[in-house]
Symmetry: C2
Subunit: 174 residues, 2 copies
């Protein structure tokens, strides 16, 4: 699919409520579960999404739109949530994510980004030159990837409990 | 995780609202998208979940609980939705799924299933003997697997649009 800002935003605005419906009030047996050592729980993933709202998508889009002389993004800390989420409840994190996402989408809408601006570029610390269009498409795919991860982590908790049905449930072995 | 009916039900009761938040009112570019020929769109997946509510989980649980002389389940038609969803809107399917799931969870609660009953068995047409506990765990994992599938199908629509970020988004190549 070609990137279209309106169609992309439809996903971005739904993610906080989707995660709230999926995880809000759910037993910690699900929300603190992982896929094993060094893997993330749904709780960790929501913290990671919060960190992205604070430091990644909109700040990077702002760097591209400003077209200043220094357009290299700060590296994204993929582990920030382990400190930042400490002592917080999942309900608190879901609220924070929803609030930050709403603020960021208001910022995005306020920019009234044109087709021409979607082709503007910044410098990714690992990949080099990337466009605003690619950054915004990645924001969407990142949301969807982590929503899929949340449900995969949860499903795997029943890898043994399903007995022979494991053969029909490929998600349990991904 | 050991199967626990209360903890399992927490997921089952959230799936319709999760899918409604994720898909309700979303552009058809997302909801009709697939992963290629012979793969399912989010629209198809919701139809498949409806068919499961009608013919699979609760009817099979009923067969097990009745412990009649014939305990072999009818085979599950994995393609029923292609006929049954024809001409219907996604909004209609999301409503139907929510209504059927609520009815089925009311039936489940009304049975007041005991630990002893969870060990009762039926005959799966392919696997042979399975327990009620395994059937109910599969209902949960099946929900989660298809929710993950919906988000994966959607994410893949941006496989090219994300440019070099594809390397960081393993879901795009699953």
């Amino acid at each position: 699919m070609e990137f279209d800002l309106r169609i992309a935003t439809g996903v971005l605005e739904r993610t906080p409520a989707t995660l709230r419906m999926l995880l809000g009030g759910l037993a910690p047996e699900w929300t603190d579960a992982t896929e094993g050592p060094e893997t993330w729980s749904p709780f960790d993933i929501v913290g990671h999404l919060i960190h992205g709202e604070r430091t990644d998508w909109i700040p990077r889009a702002g760097i591209i739109l400003a077209q200043g002389s220094e357009r290299t993004f700060a590296p994204y800390d993929r582990f920030a949530q382990f400190e930042e989420s400490k002592g917080r409840s999942l309900a608190d994190l879901l609220d924070a994510f929803a609030r930050l996402r709403a603020e960021n989408l208001a910022t995005l809408a306020g920019w009234r980004i044109t087709e021409a601006q979607l082709a503007l570029t910044g410098e990714h610390p690992a990949f080099g030159t990337v466009t605003l269009r690619q950054l915004l498409a990645t924001w969407v795919a990142h949301d969807l990837g982590h929503t899929a991860q949340v449900t995969r982590v949860m499903a795997k908790q029943y890898r043994d409990a399903v007995g022979p049905w494991r053969e029909y449930l490929p998600i349990l072995d991904r």
